[in-house]
Every structure is written in C-alpha cells, then in structure tokens.
Amino acid sequence: MSTRPDPPAACEIGLSWYASPRPQVYSLELELGPEAAPWDWQRQLAWPAIATQTLPLTATAPPAISVPIARPRIRVRSFEFPAPDEVLPAVAAAQAPSPTAPDGPAATPHGATRIRPPGDVIKLEDRLLYLLQPALELLLAERSLEFPFPPFAYQFQGIAFLYPRHAAILADEMGLGKTMQAVTAVRLLLRCGEIRRVLLVCPKPLVSNWQREFQQWAPEVPVLAVEGEQEKRAWQWQFAEIPVKIANYEAVCRDRELFESAGDGGRRLRFDLVILDESQRIKNRQGTTSQVVRNIDRSRSWALTGTPIENSPEDLVGIFEFLAPGFLNSDMKPRKMGRTIRDYVLRRTKDEVLKELPPKLFRDADLELTPEQRESYRLAEEEGLLRLTRMEPSVTIQHVFELVLRLKQICNFDPATGASSKLERLEADLEEVAQSGRKAIIFSQWVGTIEILAEHLRRFGPLQYHGRIPSARRDDVIRRFRDDPDSHVILMSYGAGGVGLNLQFAHYVFLFDRWWNPAIEDQAVNRAHRIGVAGPVTVTRFLVLDTIEERIDRILQEKRELFESVFSDARGHRHLGLTQAEIFGLFDLKSPHGPIDLAA
C-alpha cells in the first residue's frame, strides 16, 4: 500500500491584504506522490481534489465624529424708557426764549458728573434709567439751563446726589452753597417734569434769601412766599400755578390743618417735594414743628443743614423721622448710624472740596478778667455755689444754669462798673479792621450785650441784627453793612445771624462770648467764610481764663469729636452730649440722673 500523503485537509493559504480593489489570491501547493502504483496508475495519475475555503474579508469603516457647531442661543433682556419728559407748563411759559439755543445739547459741557441710583431704588429698570442718563452737565446743557457763574464740581455732585433721591440730607459745611445745589436740583426736576409742586420751609429771616437765590439760580421758576394774614395764606397755599412755595416754619405750623387729613370737604395739600432748610429745627421729635412737617403729604423729602448733629445723634434721628420714619433709632451706636445713613447723607467740608478757598484763621484770645470783673465774678460764684449747696438735694438744672449765665455775663462786662477785658481787646482789634477798610461781624449770645457794645463801638458805624430788629428791616441792615463804607461792624446774635446769610464781604469774625455748641459757632463763622470770600477770614474767639468759659470750652471740644464719630465713621464712641452731670460738674456738684438739652 502506497504511503501517499493525504490531500491536505485545508489549503495553506498565503493571504495578502491589499486595499480594495486588488483581487484576492490563494496559493496552493500541489504535491504529487513520488511512488506510482502499477495496479492503479490511472488512479494515481488523477488530480487530487482541491478543497477551497472562502474567508470573509471585512474592512472596518473608519470612525467619524461630527462636531455640531451650534449657533449660541442668545437671551436678551430689554428695557424701554419713558419718553424724555415734557417741561412743566408754568416753567416753560416763564422761560425766556433762547434764540441761540441749538436743537441738540447747548454746548459741550466739561466734566461728567453721573447720576447714580440711590440704594432704595430696587427695580432694575429704574436703576438702569438713572445709570443710562447722560452726565449731569449734559442734562443741564440740554435744557439750556444757564448759571450766573459756573458751579463747582462738588456742587454738580451735590445736584446729582439730590436729583434721584426721595429722601436725602445735604449736610455740607456752611458756605459751600447748599442753597444753590437745592435750587438747581429743583429746577432740573421741574424742567424734566418729575415734580410739579415744591414746598420749601425755612426760618423766617431766610425767606427773602431763598427768593433771591431762586431768582439768581432759577430765574424762570415762579416762586411764591406764603405769608401774611391767614386768609391770604389760605389762598396762597391753594394757588397751584406757582410750582415753588416758600414758607417759614411758624407759618407752616399755623396752617397745620391744611396738611392734615382732609375733612369737611377741605382738600389736603400735597407736594411732590418738601425741603426743610436748617432742618435741625425738627430735631426734637416731640416738638410741634416736627409733627407738623412730618404730616405734610409728599413724595420726596429733603433736608438741608450744616449741623445734622448739634448735641447728640438723637438730633439726626429726629431729622430722619421726617425723611424716612423708623429708619434710625436712638439705640444705634454712632458708627452703625454712620453706616446706615451713608446713602442718604452727603456731607462735604470746605477743606475737602474748596482747597482754593482762602483759609479760616482762628485766634483764641485768652484774656484775664479786669480786677473789677474778677471781684464780681468771685462774689457771684461764691454766693451762687453757697446757694446751690444750701438747696441740695432739691437743686435743679435750672438753678445751676442760672449761675452759669450769670458768670458768663460777668465775663463780658462787670455789672457794677461796665469794665470788660473783652471790650478792651475788641476795640483794639477793630481799630485795625477799620483802618484797613475791612468789615467785621461780632457775635454774642445776648441782645443786651450787643446793645452795650453798639454804644461803645459807635465810631465804627455798628449795625445790629438780632431778634429785636423787625424782619422787614433786616435785609436793609445787611445791605447797609455791605454797601456803606463807614459801617465796619455788624453786631449779631447767634440766633438771628447764625444761619442763611451771605456776608462773605466781611473778613473778620469775633465770637464775643461762646455758644453752647460748636455747630452754632461754626454756622456763625461761615457767614463770612464762604464761597465768594476774597481773602482769609480771621476768627477771634474770646475766652476768659480760669472762668466758666474755659470749662465750657472743654465740653465744646468734646462735642466736635462726637460729630466726627458719626460722619467720619470713626472708631469708638463716648457720649459727649452736654449732660446734667457735666453741667453740675462745672461746679463740682452732684447731679440727679438723665441728660438735658441745653443747646437751642
């Protein structure tokens, strides 16, 4: 039997892979047996059977990744604003035509003071409306609002502060032009149609001053002073065609019924804006004035004051009861109060914003009593203290206060002889003032002192301005002081002359005696040291050593520190108001508990 090999069970396949379309090739090795079988050669010669096998050749398609390039979906927030306003008819009618005013912005304004939305404006649309307004200078130019002279940059900032606010205190230091800023903000709001009825409440002597300021800074705005008999006032209050009404605090209090809820068919008066000038007048929340002005129906409330705190932070709480009732409370620490009111109060000092203003030079005239005064003082103090000691424990603050006043008066003049070390010094200083052709303001707490001084200072042409001078004559007094070259001196009481007057033509201020709180003294000094002053203002503070005046002066200094603690957000706090303990302490007396308010 032959040993031919079996045919291969499977072909050996030489497989080569080529990328299509090359043909597939199979290679077979054909093996012939080396031996022949003689008996079956035919069979041996036959071709072996060829087995084939098909193998699938699958080519994997290359993977492809599609990257979508989606168009971003854009969400848009849209805000449409009311069409820029129309001018109040009364204002438009009063406005003098300006033939040269261009159609667009009147002129390219310098500077860019932006109006920022106040913190209490919550709605985004309202906030954006403020943010998207043009700079204040452009707004004013657009309205063709002209000024008698260019405002300072800080005054633009003050206007931009007031303009959007429904509750605000402009607390600039005296002399920085709070009046001008308020008038211009009112003017702009009226011209933009955002307000139509404005009430300005101020101390009586300042009504005519406000009228003048409106005439100067907003000549096209009709203004009406509400004054005179009751019937006349009633008619004036209802006279709707005049957009700005000015009234003194007393008139407002007298006509309080008009501000209260309408009854018996009467119409309650309503204002878009109420401005309180010298708003420290309402610091006492329980006072009638405070209650009456808080009752006025209004949508905006502004307060103007250079002394938002005269005695204690409680004063500020009182003012805020008018602006935003309940916003402040008496328990707040000064530092927290300072933070809380930050968005409502704008306070600048001359040092900060008027670096070019001539300096204010303080001279402390520390004097000794004359022998006559010293003797009177000693007797009065001994007698007074003896009396107080005998009265203990029933002694009251009034008893102590009487003694304080008595001693202060002796520091001015000896009651028996009229001798006065202050007068001697004052006369010497005024000689110099008069010789240089300058003018001086002399402040005293007492009308009696002013009248005595007027007698002694006759050669300097003194004028008097105090509570006994009728209101109708006061403007004339100021005019004479300004225009009469022989009038070198005006004698003023702190009460009548301390606020609202512009006496920047005076270069000297004398504080003949000291007031109870430094804010009032500052106000007095700033009658002269204000915008427009031509040179340095010299302030002479008379102080008699080793007397009650020296002791009071220490307390005044502490009050200044209190003010700073609120308005400069300073650390630490001490109660620095004039307390009973401090008043009693002037004489080393013990006191019952509880603070008192000495300052007027």
Binding site: P72, V76, F79, P82, D103, T108, L131, L132, Q133, P134
Partner: protein
C-alpha cells in the same frame, strides 16, 4: 411721562460687548435720542464659546460672536431705527451685513498730538481682569482694513468693505450731532448698566 410713540424719533444706537473673565460675553445695546437721553436698552445673558468653536472659528470667532450673533440679535430687538449704530469694538463691525443701518467704529481715545500716533482700542472687561488691546496703525488703515475718518469731534472708522457706501451716509446723518456729541461716552454707560444688570441676577 409722555406715551408718544417715539419710534420715529431720530436716534443713535450704541453697541458693545463686555468680556467677563468668568461669565463670558455680555452684549449691550443702548438707543439714545439726539440729546443723549436713553430710549431703550437691551443686554444679553452671558455667552461663552466652547472649545470647539474657539478652534474651528479661529480668528473669525470674535467677529462671528460680537457682530453676527450678539450684535445682530440686539439690534433686531430695538424698537427705534437709529440713524447709525456706533461701536467701540472692531469685531462688532461684522454686524453690518445683517442690519440695515451703517455701523461705525468710534476710536477712543481720539488721536492727540502726542508722540504715540496710533489709536488704542481697548476691549473692556469687567471684574478687574486683563484687557485685550488692539492697536490701529493709521499708516495702513489698521487691522482688517479700516478706513478712518473724522466727524466733528469724533475719530471714526469703517470696514473697508462698507466704507464707500456708508461714509457719506454717516456724514449726512450725524454730522451735526457729532460736532457736540462725544460718541465714545455712552459706552461707559452701557458697561455700567451691564454690570448693574449682572449684579441684579446674582
């Protein structure tokens, strides 16, 4: 306030984009009347291109996003038809083929007599991050072919492709306004408004 339909009031459009380093791009479009008072404002939610878009669009991404996407969307939202749309960013000019009114680049600050004769366009960010600065070299018209010209107190530029058609039109429409109006000023307002809107949604 008046309720008069002011769509026919002559208006100017101001279109810009703020690039926030964390949130992305915010578009803002402000329409002012001829006195500079706002009539309408539109702003976008933030848009952030993904990595693929950044790679695939390459240098054309900014014009695509700023102009074609954000710009076009915002301008189409406007109810007033402005005389001209101003922008302070060159990529926003890419919106021009998609809107009907001329679009002009306000160069800021305008060239002065200083030694540096090139104008500087800052693409502003908010959030205190680094700024991208593109410089336009006046000697050859600037990158991307800008045609610069002065109108009133403003230094302006147009894309080369649109300059021939748009420049006379712009001069005719806003020449008087451009005498007094600082066309660069409203962009500050837009940026503040975008920041305010962004604060509101936080």
């Amino acid at each position: 306030m008046s309720s008069v339909d002011n769509r026919s009031v002559p208006a100017l459009g101001f279109l810009t984009v703020v690039d926030h380093p964390q949130h992305g791009l915010f578009g803002g479009y402000l329409v002012l009347n001829k006195c500079g008072r706002p009539l309408e404002f539109h702003c976008t939610a933030p848009i952030k291109p993904n990595r693929a878009q950044q790679i695939l669009y390459g240098p054309t991404l900014a014009p695509f996003l700023y102009g074609e996407q954000i710009g076009q969307t915002l301008v189409q939202k406007g109810r007033h038809e402005p005389l001209v749309v101003c922008t302070d960013l060159e990529p926003v000019l890419a919106v021009r083929p998609h809107v009907s009114m001329p679009v002009v680049l306000v160069l800021s600050p305008a060239p002065t007599a200083s030694n540096d004769t090139s104008a500087c366009i800052e693409i502003p960010h908010f959030g205190g991050q680094e700024k991208i600065i593109q410089r336009v070299d006046p000697s050859h018209g600037g990158p991307g072919g800008l045609v610069r010209f002065r109108l009133g107190r403003n230094e302006l530029a147009l894309s080369e492709g649109t300059a021939a058609a748009d420049q006379p039109s712009i001069a005719e429409r806003v020449a008087e306004l451009a005498e007094t109006f600082d066309l660069g000023e409203p962009f500050g307002r837009i940026r503040e408004a975008i920041e305010e809107a962004q604060r509101a949604v936080r």
